[in-house]
Symmetry: C2
Subunit: 502 residues, 2 copies
Amino acid sequence: MTSLKLRKVCIDTYHENVAYLHRNCPLYRSEGFQALSKIEITDGASRAPVIAVLNIVDDDAIIAPDELGLSEQTFAQFKTDEGSAVFVNHASPPSSLNAVRQKIAGNRLDADDFLQICEDIVNNRYSKIEIAAFLVGCAESGMERDEMLYLTQAMVKTGETLDWGEPLVVDKHCIGGIPGNRTTMVIVPIVAAHGMLMPKTSSRAITSPAGTADTMEVLAQVNLPPDKMRNVVQQHRGFIAWGGTANLAPVDDVLISVERPLAMDSKGQLVASILSKKLAAGSTHLLIDIPVGPSAKVHTQTEALRLRKLFEYVGDRAGLEIEVMISDGQQPIGNGVGPALEARDVLLVLQNDPQAPIDLREKALQMAGRILEFDPDVRGGQGYYLARDLLESGRAWEKMQAIINAQGANDEPLPPASLQHRVVAPHDGVVTAIDNLQIAHIARLAGAPMDKAAGVDLHKKLHDHVEQGEPLLTIYAEFPADFQFAKKAANENSGYSLEAPE
Amino acid sequence: MTSLKLRKVCIDTYHENVAYLHRNCPLYRSEGFQALSKIEITDGASRAPVIAVLNIVDDDAIIAPDELGLSEQTFAQFKTDEGSAVFVNHASPPSSLNAVRQKIAGNRLDADDFLQICEDIVNNRYSKIEIAAFLVGCAESGMERDEMLYLTQAMVKTGETLDWGEPLVVDKHCIGGIPGNRTTMVIVPIVAAHGMLMPKTSSRAITSPAGTADTMEVLAQVNLPPDKMRNVVQQHRGFIAWGGTANLAPVDDVLISVERPLAMDSKGQLVASILSKKLAAGSTHLLIDIPVGPSAKVHTQTEALRLRKLFEYVGDRAGLEIEVMISDGQQPIGNGVGPALEARDVLLVLQNDPQAPIDLREKALQMAGRILEFDPDVRGGQGYYLARDLLESGRAWEKMQAIINAQGANDEPLPPASLQHRVVAPHDGVVTAIDNLQIAHIARLAGAPMDKAAGVDLHKKLHDHVEQGEPLLTIYAEFPADFQFAKKAANENSGYSLEAPE
C-alpha cells in the first residue's frame, strides 16, 4: 500500500472529521476515491484507524499531491506528527449502522445496540448523514421508554463522569424556551447556604438570548478547570460554572449539533439528553421544571404529564432521584432578557430589593424549596419556608458573594447597552399574551448573548393594564446594525397582545 | 453590514456547499457564527443568495481575515469574480423543510411539497443532514404511490430534459446487482438495426464492478457532447454513451450521494430515481428488468410483483409506456465480470461466436424482443424471433460497428490483466449457488472498474458438475496489491456453493 505524508490543515470542521487529498495524488484515481467518500486513515501500526470524509484539493498551497491533510479536530485525534507516513483505505460503514437501519425499519433496539452506536459516534465513525439517519429513525418510529433508558446509559458510559464523593448531590433543570427564567442563580446560593452540595454546570445559550453560563459570566469567571471546581465546592458547597470543559456525555453534543438544524421534536432525545448530562455530572437528586404555555416548548398540561412520566421512568432505572414540577410558561420570567439584564434581576432578588421581579423570586423560592426537601431532615412542605428564610435573612446573598469571589469576580456591574428604544402600547388595553419566541427573537437580534449588555427589558406582564403610549418593552443594543434589526422586528411584532378594555 | 472579499478555495466538496471564514474575521465572533453553521452569501445585489456550510480557517495561506472563501462548486454557483464584496448572514432553514418534518411525522405530502423540496435541493439550500432527514422520513413511513409520482415529476422538472423529436423513443433498465448482465450492448444494436430510436445514456459503476458506460468505453468513446449524441443517433438510430454530461434529474444524483452511505432500501426512492432519469432523457417507452434471486436486489417473486405495480402506476401517470419483466437473478449473467471481460462477452454474442455465453445471448434476445414489440407493426410474440434474426443475420453486429465508429472507436481490443489466479473446486460436486455479491466483491478488489482489464471470469454456472481441482473462476488484476486482496477474499469465499454428489 502506498503511504502519504501527514499534514495538518488548519480548518475547523467541528464535529465532522474531514481529510484532504490532492486531485493529482496517485491514490485518488487508482483507489476510486471521490469527494465525500468516507476513508480510513492508519499509521500502519496496530492502533484503531481514524475515519474521515474526503474533500479533494486542487491547490498545492493547501496540500501537495503526496500528502494527506487532516482538519484540526481530525489531526488532534490522530495523535501523530506531521510528515509521518499514513495509509488510506475505503472505510467500511460502522457495524452499528445495522442497528440504525433496524430502528428506521421500526424495530426496537437493545442496550447493547445503543452502546455500540454511541461508541461509534464518540469515536467519530459516524458521518453527519449517518447521525441524521439515527435521529430521524428514533424520532419517527419513536423510542420505547426502555430505549430512552438505554440511550441515556450509553451516553453516560461513552464519556467522562464526575464523582463528588457525597451521597446527596443536587441539580435542577428547566426545559428551555422561557426567556428570563434565570432561577438557577437564585437557587444555588439558597441551597448551598443550607449546606447541600450543588455543583452546577450550566450551558451557554445556543438559540436563546442567554444561558445561565452567559449570565453568571457577567458577574464572575465561569470557565473553571476541574481542580478549581473542586476547591470552590469544598469551601462553599456550590458553584455556577460552564459545563463545557468536562467531557460529559459527549455523544449528546454531537447529536444536538445535527438535530438542531432539523428543528425536530423528539421526546426520547430530550429525556436522554438531559438525564445523561446530569448523571455524568455526578448528580444524585434532580428537580426538573416543565413550563407549559402556548409559546413554551411544552404546550399542554397533558403533554407535560406525559413527559414527567418519561423522566420518572428513566430516572428511577438509571439511579437518579427525580422530582418534576410543572410551571406556568405563558410569559417570560423576570423583566430582563439578555445576560446583563438577567444578572441585574438575579441580584435584585438576592439583595431583597423591593424592585426585584416578583415572578422570578417566587419561582426560584418554590424550586429551591423542592430541592431542599431532598434533605431527609427537611419536613415535607417546609422547603419553601426554609428557602424564603435563607433568602430574606441575607444568607443566600452572602453565599452568592462568596461563590462569585471564589470563582473570580468581575470588577464592575455591566450597565445596559447604550442604544435604547422603547416600544409603546398602540392603544389602551390589557396584556392578554406575551410571545416567548418573539421576545427571545428581538433580544437576539439586539445582540444577546454575544453582546452581554444587549437585550430587552419588559415593563408589562400578563393581565397588566396599559395606556396608549406607555412603554411595553425597551430594546438595548451595542451596535447600530443590530439596533435597527431589533427595532424593525419589534415594530412589526412586539410579542405583546393587547385587548382593548370593554 | 460589513462586507468581505470573495475568494475561491480550490477544494472540491462535491454536492455540499462549503464556505471558509478566518477565525480572526471580525464577523466570526460578532455574528455568533460557528463551524457547521449554515450561512447565506449575497453580493448585495438582488439575486438569490447562495447557502453554504461554514468551516473556520486558522491559516492565512488558505484565506485572510477579511476574505470569505468558497469551495470550487460553491464559487461556480456564485458567478462573481474573486475580490468582489460579499455579505454574509445566518441562513434561515429552507421553507420546504416544514414538509420534510411533516413527512417525518408520518403525513402525506402533495405534488407542490415535493416540487419545493426538489427546487431547494437543486439550488443547494439543503445540507446533507437535511437531505438525510428527507430520505429517512420517506423510507420509514413509506411513500404512497402518488407521492412516488410527485417525487418523480418534481425530479424531472428541476433538471434539463432531452427531446428527440420522435414519438417512439425506447429505453431499458435493469434493477442492478447482477454481475455481468451487460445486455444493453447487445440490445441497442439489435433495436437500432430494426430502425427504432434508442439513444442510450448509461451510468458508470459506483458500487458494482462495471457499469454499461465503463464497458462500452473499452470499445469506444462514451463521453459524447450533446451535439455528437444527436449526430450519431440521426445516422444510426442509437448510441451507448455516458449520461453524466447532461443535467438530467440532478436531484436524483444528490439524493443518491446521501442515500448510498446509509445503504437504505427505499422502494419509492428507487422508482422515482429510475423513472425520473428516463423521463428526463426523453424516453417514451421503457422495458424494466427485475432480476430475482437470493443475492439479487429483489429476493422474492412477491416483492418483484409489488415493485412492478409501482413502476406501472407511476409510469402510466407520468406518461411513460412501461413493460416490466421479471427474470432469473440467481447468478451472474455471462462469464466475464469487469469492463474488458464483459465487453469480450458482448462481442462474442454480437459476432455469433460459438464461445458466446448462452445466458447473456438469451436474456438480451428476450429483452430486445419485448422492446421491438413496442413497434405497432410488430405482432405480439414475434419480437423474440425478429431480434434473433437481426442478431444471427449479422445486422446487429454491423450496427454495433457503425455505432462504435461513430462514437469514436478505440484502437485495440483490451486483453485481460496480466496477473491471473485460478480458484479451483475443493471437491467434486454440483454448483448449487453463486453469490452475486461475493463475485462482485472479488472483481472490485481485483481492480474493476478503475482498471478496465481487471475482474473475474466464471468457468462454471448453476447446476454444472465440477471435479476436484477444476477451475471455478479466474481472477485478473493489474496491480500486485489488488491481486493479493482479491486472491485472499476468493480463497476465503469463492462465492460458489458446491454440493457433493450422492
